[in-house]
């Protein structure tokens, strides 16, 4: 019943207008056709059916409010935050992350950049729940991330590699992707380099196929099994957990290196945002 409202929401962004207002499910369908129904993309007709009613749309609305409302000790909104395309420009910003930010002197992903702006513009500290609570649909961070990310839906992933640090992080991320260690000898390579391979009943995405890898990296996504909207950083931790690796800090340089490589691997393929996953 709130389907209509959701649709309207999805197309209000300029992003959607520019891209011909393609809904995420239409982007997915087009990729499925293009790849002759890659098993990873078409594995769940039920999930595909739920996409128009994606609970992640609720976060978009909340995120927009949080973004525009003056908050924090400095009582400022986030409208002056520069996600790489100029202060306040959100259209297409997310598909060009991670990128180098001269003001911070480092390569940042969406999560790190958002935290940076909440601290510098709004005056929050790392300890404030607004910044510290990284996970769960109820967190400010996930609401804001979803609002920002959706403004890149349908646009091709295009993380910049002009700056030497961007290139360095991407290349180190590549090394880390193929690097095997731990009690199970796992590297990302073990599970994400074969097309159509399954872990149990789940078809795994192949990083060498941009048209299927784009769905893999299309976060925030609503995870049905967890009843929460999740971020890239969260997915990364879940894979590290399966790999028997130690905990990794949100926004750490190693995480950003991995995300730089995984985003580069989807270059040119359209982002599906918000996505809905198992």
């Amino acid at each position: 019943m709130f389907k209509k409202a959701l649709r309207t929401l999805a197309v209000t962004g300029t992003a959607a207008l520019i891209m011909g207002a393609q809904a995420p499910e239409d982007i997915l369908d087009a990729l499925a056709r293009k790849t002759n129904n890659a098993p990873y993309l078409v594995q769940s007709p039920q999930n595909r059916m739920m996409m128009p009613d994606n609970p992640a749309y609720d976060l978009v609305e909340d995120g927009e409010r949080l973004f525009k409302t003056p908050r924090g000790p400095k009582n400022a909104s986030l409208e002056k935050c520069d996600f790489g395309k100029g202060p306040g420009v959100l259209e297409g910003a997310y598909v060009e992350l991670p990128r180098y930010f001269a003001d911070a002197g480092k390569v940042m992903d969406l999560d790190a950049r958002l935290a940076y702006c909440m601290k510098t513009l709004q005056g929050f500290t790392d300890a404030d729940p607004a910044v510290a609570r990284k996970h769960g649909s109820g967190s400010d961070v996930m609401k804001l991330q979803t609002y920002i990310a959706v403004k890149s839906s349908g646009m091709p992933w295009n993380p910049p590699l002009n700056h030497p640090l961007e290139k360095a992080m991407r290349d180190a991320g590549e090394v880390m992707f193929y690097r095997r260690s731990g009690i199970m000898d796992f590297g990302c390579v073990t599970c994400h380099t074969k097309e159509g391979a399954r872990i149990r009943a789940s078809v795994l995405p192949n990083i060498h196929k941009p048209d299927e890898w784009t769905k893999a990296i299309s976060w925030p996504a609503y995870r049905i099994s967890q009843e929460n909207v999740r971020s890239s950083q969260h997915r990364l931790i879940e894979c590290l957990w399966q790999m028997r690796y130690p905990n990794m800090k949100n926004g750490s340089d190693a995480s950003i290196a991995l995300l730089s490589f995984w985003t580069d691997a989807a270059r040119g393929a359209p982002a599906i945002l918000p996505d809905l996953k198992r």
Partner: protein, 251 residues
Amino acid sequence: MLKKTSIAAALATATAVLLVAGGCATPDTGKTEAAKPAQDASAAKPAQDTPKPKAVDYTAMTPAALAEYLIFESGSYELDQPTQEGTNGRARLVQDEIQKICSLKKGEELSDEARAKVMALAAASIKYPEGGIKLGDWKKGRELAWSGFGYRTAHNPDKHAGREAGGNCYNCHELATDRTGGTIGLTLTGFGKIRGSGPDMLKYAYDMIYNANTYFPCTSMPRMGANGVLNQQQITDIMAYLFDPASPVNK
């Protein structure tokens, strides 16, 4: 818009030196691990001293050197996190010889020399039960083969007290037809029925579970015996699940 990006990038290139330290590190990195030498994390005391900014130029390192730096010295991983086997997170990230050789990038292939080395190291790692390989209890083996529990750490460490770590076989193999297994490895459905259970076949299966690199250098199958995930008894229980005519694998 692309132009603007490259101008900004060009400007920034001039200052491609990165400060990595408590103060200017990313949100959750408020510790000083970045400034600590790589070797002594296990002995590290809680870092109270004021973080000393350490200038590290990521762009001056090779990708491999930067990866090692990020893993061990940037404060990214919780290197002190305890593991179930009594080591720490760092130990889970340090590579042994086989892992180093087997971290092949796309398009890279094992040299003949490396292949021989991995196979020799693997064969030498295998310890056999006293009195030879005898099949154990297939029901216990089934439990183990279908369990992915154990040794996971990260944000939600498995508590081994009161629960045995499993073999994860189902994640990668189809086993019996009553449940869905994975396809990263070959199907093992009907294994004993098809292959028989002669001494050579039993040794092959034992070796594969203990250290599959013996026959498949740089396989993605974990070294369950050599890495201490499964003990000899558990391996022979799982083997019974693969070979016993009464096991669902062979029905």
